[in-house]
C-alpha cells in the first residue's frame, strides 16, 4: 500500500524538465534525485516527502528516451506517478526500473496539490483521502504485470535468460 501527498502538474511534462541533459552524465538515483523536476518546480525536491505521489495530465514524460527521468523521480522518494497518459518510452522505462505508474483521468482531474492519496497497486485502487473518493484503474496486461511483480525488468530478464538457456539444452 502506497500513501502520500499529491504534487500536481499539467500536460506534456517532458523529460528535459524532469531531468535536464546537463545532469545526464550521471545515472544513479543518488546523483540525479537532487535535480528531479528542477526546471519545472525548483521547490519540488525541497517539498517532496518519501512516499509522495506525482499527479499529472496527459503525455507525462514526453521527449527523450533518457531513463535518468524515472530514476530521478524514484530517487527523490516518489512512490507512484498517476497521469492521464504517459509517453511510451517513459512508460516502459518506469516499469523497467520499478517505478509504479497508473493511467487514469478522473483521479487526476479531481486531485489537488497536497491531497493525501492511498494507492493499492495490486487491486488498482486509488483513494483520495482528502476528497473521500475512490477510483479504479484497469489492470495492466499480464506480461507487464509480471515485470511489475518482479520489481522491474532486471529480474524479468534474468528469468528470460534462464528460460532461453533451458530451451537450448
Amino acid at each position: 500500500m502506497i500513501k502520500g501527498n499529491v504534487h500536481k502538474y499539467g500536460d506534456n511534462i517532458d523529460t528535459d524538465v524532469i531531468i535536464p541533459a546537463r545532469y545526464c552524465t550521471a545515472f544513479t538515483e543518488k546523483e540525479l534525485a537532487p535535480h528531479a523536476l528542477e526546471d519545472l518546480d525548483a521547490n519540488f525536491v525541497k517539498n517532496v516527502r518519501k512516499g509522495d505521489i506525482i499527479v499529472a495530465g496527459r503525455n507525462f514524460g514526453c521527449g527523450s528516451s533518457r531513463e535518468n527521468a524515472p530514476i530521478a523521480i524514484k530517487g527523490a522518494g516518489v512512490s507512484c506517478v498517476v497521469a492521464k497518459s504517459f509517453a511510451r518510452i517513459f512508460y516502459r522505462n518506469s516499469i523497467n526500473i520499478g517505478l509504479p505508474i497508473l493511467e487514469i483521468d478522473a483521479a487526476v482531474d479531481e486531485a489537488e496539490n497536497g491531497d493525501e492519496l492511498e494507492i493499492d497497486l495490486t487491486k488498482g485502487n486509488i483513494k483520495n483521502i482528502s476528497k473521500n473518493k475512490t477510483y479504479h484503474v484497469p489492470p495492466f496486461p499480464e506480461m507487464i504485470q509480471e515485470i511489475i511483480n518482479l520489481g522491474g525488468m532486471v529480474e524479468f530478464a534474468k528469468r528470460r535468460i534462464e528460460q532461453k538457456k533451458l530451451q537450448q539444452v
Binding site: N12, D14, D16, V17, P20, A21, R22, C24, T25, A26, F27, D39, R58, N59, C62, G63, S64, S65, R66, E67, N68, S85, A87, R88, I89, R92, N93, N96, I97, P141, M143, I144, G152, M153, V154, F156, A157, K158, R160, I161, K164
Partner: protein
C-alpha cells in the same frame, strides 16, 4: 495488415499479428549512444548476461556529449568503448569516425527495409524512412535486448497520413512534418505508428523522408514509416549485401485513422517555444530577433540540408551579433561539404563549423543558450530549458529558414531574401 504489423509478424514467427497484441519479437539491430549505453552496461552486468546476442547487430555511437564535454562525459564514452572492446562489437563508432547516430547508422548500411530495430534514443524512429520499424527505448530495454536479441512490444495501431498537392519552393520535409505535428499535437499519435505516403512522399529525397520520420516521436508516435521504393534501393546500393523484404500495407489493412494533407499552400513553418507542435506558417510570424542559429542534428544535418542552407548564404554575411553554428551530422558529410565548397560559404558568411555531435540540440555543449537568449534551430525539440538557460527560447525551422534568418538577424521567410 499494415507495414508495421507485417514486420512484427515476421519477427515473432507468426503469419499475422494485430494492433494491440503483446508480442516478443527478434531484433535486427540494437543501437545506443554515449549518453544511454553506460547505464545499459550496468544493467547488462546486473542481469548476469555473459555474452551479447550478436556482436554484428549492436551499434554503439559516440554522438551526444562528444568530443567529451567534461570529465563525466569522457567517462561515459570510456565505459562504452570498454564494452565495445570486451564484446567485440562490430559497429562501434569512435569520435572522428562517427557521426550523429541517426545519420551514421543508416549511412553505414545497418538498416534495411523490413528490419525491426530498437535504439536507446527517442529519434530512432528516423530509420522508418527506409521501410524499417524502428523505435526508441530506454537503457534497461537496450541492455536486456543485448543479452536476449529480443524484446516485448505492443503492436501499434497505425495512423496513415497521405500528402497531396504540389510542394512550393523553399518548403521541405521539415515544414511538412512541423505542420503535421501542429495538426496532430504532441500526443496526437501516442503509442501509434505513423505511416507516411502519397505523391509528395514519393517525390521527396531520402533526406527529407528521414526528417519526416525522425520527428514522428514529436507527435508521440512509436515510429514513423514509409514504404521502401527505388530511392531506398539506390541508397542501399553498395552499403549492404543483406537480403531483405520490402513490406507495404494491404489494401484492406486497418488504420486507426487516415488523414489527407494538401501541401499546395504550405509555407515554411516555425515551431514556437516550448512545444514542437506550437507551429505557425512563417507569414504569421512577427519580427523575432535571434541570437543564435543552429543548422544540423539528426533531423536536418544531411548534405541536402547544407546545400539548401548554403545557397542562401553564398557570398553574403550573417547579421552582426548573430552566431551561426553549422554541424555536419557525420564525418563523411563534413568531407563532402568541404569538397563542394560549402564550408567556405558558411565560414565566409560568419558561421562556425562544429564536429559532428548532438551538442546544442540537447543543451549538452557546442553552443548553449544564455539568459533570455533566442535560438532558431533546425533540430527537433524546443522544450523549456532544453537548450540552455531556463529563460532561453528556441524556435524550430527548416535549414533555408535558418540561413535566411541568420542573414537578417530575425526570423525571415527564405522566399524574401
Amino acid at each position: 495488415m499494415t507495414i508495421s504489423e507485417k514486420i512484427f509478424a515476421a519477427h515473432c514467427g507468426r503469419d499475422s499479428v494485430k494492433a494491440g497484441e503483446l508480442v516478443y519479437a527478434n531484433l535486427d539491430l540494437v543501437m545506443g549512444t554515449d549518453v544511454t549505453v553506460p547505464l545499459s552496461v550496468s544493467v547488462f552486468n546486473q542481469i548476469g548476461a555473459e555474452k551479447v546476442f550478436d556482436n554484428k547487430k549492436i551499434a554503439l555511437v559516440n554522438d551526444h556529449f562528444v568530443p567529451a564535454k567534461d570529465i563525466q562525459a569522457a567517462g561515459l564514452s570510456k565505459t562504452m568503448r570498454e564494452f565495445a572492446i570486451k564484446y567485440d562489437i562490430q559497429n562501434y563508432f569512435e569520435v572522428g569516425r562517427s557521426g550523429i547516430c541517426h545519420c551514421i547508422v543508416p549511412d553505414s548500411g545497418l538498416v534495411v527495409p523490413g528490419d525491426l530495430i530498437i535504439g536507446a534514443d527517442s529519434h530512432t524512429c528516423t530509420y522508418g524512412a527506409l521501410g524499417a520499424f524502428a523505435t526508441g527505448v530506454g537503457s534497461t530495454d537496450m541492455a536486456t535486448s543485448w543479452a536476449l536479441g529480443e524484446n516485448w512490444f505492443k503492436v501499434p495501431p497505425t495512423i496513415k497520413i497521405i500528402y497531396k498537392g504540389t510542394l512550393q519552393p523553399f518548403v521541405s520535409g521539415k515544414d511538412i512534418i512541423l505542420h503535421t505535428i501542429g495538426k496532430l499535437g504532441v500526443e496526437g499519435a501516442l503509442y501509434c505508428a505513423l505511416e507516411f505516403e502519397g505523391d509528395i512522399i514519393d517525390e521527396l529525397s531520402l533526406a527529407d523522408r528521414f526528417t519526416i520520420c525522425n520527428m514522428a516521436i514529436e507527435a508521440g508516435a512509436k515510429s514513423g514509416i514509409i514504404k521502401a521504393d527505388k530511392k531506398v534501393l539506390d541508397f542501399l546500393e553498395g552499403k549492404t549485401n543483406r537480403k531483405f523484404t520490402s513490406y507495404s500495407s494491404d489494401a484492406d489493412a486497418k488504420f486507426l485513422d487516415v488523414i489527407e494533407i494538401d501541401v499546395t499552400n504550405l509555407e515554411p513553418q516555425i515551431a514556437f517555444p516550448y512545444l514542437p507542435s506550437n507551429v505557425k506558417p512563417i507569414s504569421e510570424v512577427e519580427q523575432i530577433k535571434v541570437d543564435q542559429v543552429v543548422i544540423g542534428s539528426c533531423t536536418n544535418g544531411r548534405m541536402e540540408d547544407f546545400r539548401a542552407a548554403a545557397k542562401i548564404l553564398e557570398g553574403k554575411e550573417i547579421a552582426p551579433y548573430v552566431r551561426l553554428i553549422v554541424i555536419p551530422a557525420t564525418q563523411e558529410i563534413y568531407l563532402q561539404m568541404m569538397f563542394e565548397g560549402l564550408l567556405n560559404t558558411f565560414i565566409h558568411a560568419g558561421g562556425t563549423i562544429s564536429p559532428p555531435t548532438c551538442g546544442p540540440c540537447i543543451g549538452g555543449h557546442m553552443g548553449i543558450l544564455g539568459e533570455n537568449e533566442v535560438g532558431l534551430y533546425t533540430t527537433n525539440r524546443n522544450f523549456k530549458g532544453r537548450n540552455g538557460h531556463l529563460s532561453s527560447k528556441v524556435f524550430l525551422c527548416s535549414p533555408v529558414v535558418a540561413s535566411a534568418s541568420a542573414l537578417k538577424g530575425f526570423i525571415t521567410d527564405p522566399r524574401e531574401v
